[in-house]
Symmetry: C2
Subunit: 150 residues, 2 copies
């Protein structure tokens, strides 16, 4: 396959990002690709804060992957800074290409550059393929992830 680049997301990438978020068994129920206004508003909040890194993976000028990395300082673990990975998506036509690995590797490398001591993420309990993927990349499934919808 041709070369892949990972770069900060631009506003013009939002439709492609939302299409990937929605093209997913869980995402299909909770995204609105035909109403992009809330996504543009969220994009502006992310772009205004240097602790958020919304990136896209691009192959031949086509957006084929995305993730969001957020840097979170904290007191615990001797004042450790951690990073939180959210919204990881790989385009359906790219699955199995190694792109997911490249995206997570980018997140790990960027976390190191930002001085983080820990990278963390949660994955829905039903995504068992994703769990094996993260374990292959060296992550440990040491925690239970709790959510409360407001």
């Amino acid at each position: 396959m041709s070369d892949l680049g990972i770069r900060p997301a631009a506003p013009t990438d939002i439709p492609a990002i939302v299409a990937m978020l929605a093209d997913d068994p869980l995402g299909a129920r909770r995204e609105s690709p035909h109403d992009l206004a809330p996504y543009h508003a969220a994009y502006r909040r992310l772009a205004d804060d240097p602790n958020h890194h919304l990136v896209v993976a691009v192959r031949e000028d086509r957006v084929v992957g995305t993730l969001q990395l957020t840097i979170v300082p904290g007191l615990s673990r001797r004042g450790a800074t951690r990073s939180v990975v959210e919204g990881v998506r790989v385009h359906a036509e790219e699955r199995g290409s190694g792109l997911g690995t490249q995206l997570i590797q980018w997140a790990v490398d960027e976390s190191r550059r930002q001085g983080c001591q820990l990278v963390q993420l949660t994955s829905d309990a039903t995504r068992t393929d994703a769990h094996r993927f993260y374990e292959r990349l060296g992550f440990t499934a040491s925690h239970v992830g709790f959510k409360l919808t407001l």
Copy 2:
């Protein structure tokens, strides 16, 4: 018990916060209450960013609990803003007093005030009492939490 207050943590609260972080089966191995420098540095990073809320619970001028709430915008779930709760600790002498519930309720209320649609946290898989506690408060253990130490 006498009235409890929850307020933003001040630099003078750091020794009490770190003592609580360390007085814990997991924290005992990873905190350094005799070297507070890294905690002061982390405190300054938190205090400089309005998206972080490090709070303490205080009873009779004594710090008896703490948590950190971080506001994280994002594109997924129709541009939902979520909050992430970290570093929840209740002083040993206060366990069973309902203080944990009051701290989490504060985090949920503050998340609503900040326009969040979701509150999330992870809890070490070995903390089974904590898991029951979060489920009683309405949280769902829907995710697996992965960590990678750098």
